[in-house]
């Protein structure tokens, strides 16, 4: 299976130069689901939120669940890729871009969920005109907008040398690539500037990403509602976000690998290494969930216990235990076993399970607390309507479609970084390792 290096890097450009039938069929299906979602949205715009299953007291439902979920996934990219870059993890080279694209795209859908949830989407700009900075929702607006800008820059910078490659060899869309390449020639001065900028952005983007899911959690934690008003919500949400983010990267990698035949770039070792990270996050997630529930249980405050029991043994218990199984039991058993973790399907199956589980986790944070108001009101049950489900499906499909389109315009595996790895890093790494150890002459003394 050994190919010459030239051959294999060619492979990275193939998806951009050639488009097969599978692409058109796949995109067609995704587009159809997206259009269906659009249709549902038009219905909601015309008839208002009456078309949802929301009620008093469950004022928030699927849309807010999806908001937290999508913003969580956005931690995939930038955060993971930034950490791996700063840690000089050499195995990152073929996965960083795939991760960064997830971040940028999914943020739009996260913000879109909030717009879907508004009773008056036509007035959304009031948030800027009459912004009230004591509201955690406004912290969200500020933080997510900053994250979107920072992660777009962070995606774009390492893309520049690859765009220049495309500019130089693609007959199609040359004007487009020329403009985006910003006159990149690969001169040493340019390289130096680029590397410095990427390193700076990698540092900047980490605190921003942490702030994003922290303030998302504060939307809940800053109220006095039972099982929302919790001090660990910030880190708990960030951990969940990275958890679902890594799972999203793994799924995306498996699809890219299969569809574009990138077996030589996305190797089992990548799946194994990300699998270990996913395992660590599964343990952290379990730790936080356990701490949160045990504290509530021992405190035993009646209003909190009503929500607690509705999750663990009441109406929401099937959802709750499915969450525990799919967020912890399945990924833990698949990933702590070297035999399943070393395969492709093992980490991917764990990831699919984690995505499902994390969505359920978000649902269980939003809905049960609202379903059990403090005062003895006659509470109606919430069951999401077809409009809400359609919009979720539409969002997921459109997200995947945009992701696919990205892979058709730009190399999804960074070509220049792979080359850099081959040309410089081998030597650099051995030099680095040598610098950790005493030299032979010194050791002898």
């Amino acid at each position: 299976m050994e190919r010459s290096e030239f051959d294999s890097d060619e492979r990275l450009l193939r998806p951009i130069e050639h488009t097969g039938r599978a692409f058109w069929i796949g995109s067609g299906i995704l587009l159809a689901i997206g259009v269906w979602g659009l249709f549902a949205w038009v219905i909601q715009l015309r008839r208002g939120l009456a078309v949802t299953g929301l009620n008093v007291p469950v004022y928030w439902g699927l849309y807010i669940t999806n908001f937290v979920f999508f913003i969580g996934i956005s931690h995939a990219g930038t955060l993971i890729s930034a950490i791996l870059r700063l840690a000089h993890a050499e195995w990152r080279r073929s996965i960083t871009r795939a991760a960064e694209v997830i971040t940028v795209l999914v943020l739009f859908f996260g913000m879109g969920c909030v717009i879907l949830d508004l009773g008056r989407p036509d007035r959304v700009l009031n948030v800027l005109k009459h912004g009230n900075f004591t509201s955690p929702l406004l912290w969200d607006v500020a933080s997510v907008a900053t994250y979107l800008i920072a992660s777009t820059i962070y995606l774009y910078l390492p893309l520049i040398p690859d765009i220049a490659i495309l500019r130089d060899r693609m007959p199609k869309r040359r004007w487009f690539y020329r403009r985006l390449a910003l006159g990149w020639t690969g001169a040493p001065r340019q390289r130096q500037l680029l590397e410095r900028a990427i390193a700076a952005m990698a540092v900047i983007v980490i605190p921003i990403a942490v702030s994003v899911h922290t303030v998302v959690s504060w939307v809940f934690a800053m109220t006095v509602q039972p099982m929302w008003h919790s001090t660990i919500f910030g880190p708990y949400f960030v951990v969940g976000a990275i958890f679902s983010g890594i799972a999203a990267i793994l799924i995306a990698m498996a699809i890219i690998r299969k569809a574009y035949h990138l077996e030589n770039y996305l190797k089992p070792i990548h799946f194994n290494n990300l699998g270990i990270l996913l395992l660590v996050m599964a343990l952290l997630w379990f730790y936080f969930t356990f701490a949160e529930f045990l504290t509530t249980y021992y405190g035993g405050e009646p209003t909190h216990m009503v929500v607690f029991l509705s999750k663990t043994e009441g109406k929401f218990s099937p959802v709750f235990w499915t969450m525990v199984v799919s967020c912890f039991v399945i990924p833990f058993s698949l990933l702590c076993n070297r035999r399943t973790r070393g395969t492709i399907w093992g980490p991917v199956a764990a990831s699919v399970s984690v995505e499902l589980g994390m969505w359920l986790e978000r649902f269980l944070i939003v809905v049960p607390s609202l379903s059990n108001p403090r005062l003895p009101l006659t509470a109606a049950a919430y069951s999401p309507s077809w409009v809400e489900w359609s919009l979720l499906a539409g969002f997921i499909a459109t997200f995947i479609l945009l992701y696919v389109l990205f892979t058709k315009l730009f190399p999804i595996v960074s070509i220049w970084e792979i080359r850099e790895g081959r040309e410089h890093s081998l030597e650099e790494v051995s030099k680095r390792v040598r610098s950790y150890l005493p030299a032979l002459a010194e050791a002898g003394k």
């Binding site: 508004l118 509201s135 109220t223």
Partner: protein, 233 residues
């Protein structure tokens, strides 16, 4: 500056719901109809909430408690509104600005009393009721949040009246519709800071308590009940 508050004497209340109807008519709150009510979509600025009452060891009784907006002194809703569409005015009334509200429903989820309502649909009145709407209260559009205003428009009217007559506002000039209607005279309204007012006096009664006061919201609706408040919350 007055600090408007309400006292509801549960020992006098007969749960006749006249206050509920008066509120509905006064504030142009559209009737929801049985189907929407079953789906939890009915709007009522004031409703009766069934508390399980009775002291320990005695026979349990059901107590129906009128529940308007508490007009908290530390309102959890005001702080979380992203667009300042709900705010505390100078006289302590928690007001809602309908033309500015974006309908995000953060205030409704943050309110521990669940007294804020959302217009899921366009309000509709059957036939002739539409001609009977009060001109003093704006009709809310679909997609915004609304709640009890302590009949704020009545305060405006009372102030205009007092100004026209060249005198200061007197006790009883400004009373919300529910208080005015209550046939059992279980509801009293006035300035909590005026030591001579009935509300101020009653709010210091040994029977006085506030709902969920442990949350630190400092409600300005004060309930009176004899014995220990057995309301299981």
């Amino acid at each position: 500056m007055p600090r408007w508050g309400m006292v509801i004497d549960l020992d006098r209340c007969t749960a006749c719901q006249a206050c509920v109807v008066a509120c509905q008519v006064e504030n142009n709150v559209a009737p929801a109809g049985p189907e929407m009510a079953a789906r939890g979509r009915a709007i009522s600025w004031l409703r009766l909430v069934p508390f399980q009452g009775g002291e320990h060891g005695t026979r349990p009784e059901l107590r129906l408690v009128p529940l308007p907006c508490m007009h908290c002194e530390r309102p959890p809703c005001v702080r979380v509104c992203p667009v300042r569409a709900t705010l505390t005015d100078r006289e302590g009334l928690v007001a809602q600005v309908y033309p500015r509200c974006i309908g995000c429903r953060y205030c409704t989820t943050a309110c521990p009393y669940t007294v804020r309502h959302f217009n899921w649909d366009r309000p509709q009145w059957p036939g002739p009721m539409e001609q009977a709407l009060s001109p003093d209260v704006s009709v809310r559009p679909r997609g915004v949040v609304e709640k009890c205003s302590f009949c704020h428009h009545r305060l405006q009217r009372a102030k205009d009246q007092a100004r026209a007559e060249g005198r200061p506002l007197r006790e009883g000039d400004y009373v919300p519709a529910c208080v005015e209607t209550c046939p059992a005279e279980a509801m009293v309204f006035g300035d909590l800071d005026d030591p001579r007012s009935a509300v101020a006096r009653l709010s210091e009664s040994p029977r006085a308590f506030r709902l969920l006061e442990e949350l630190g919201t400092r409600p300005k609706v004060i309930y009176l009940s004899r014995g220990e408040w057995g309301g299981e919350i």
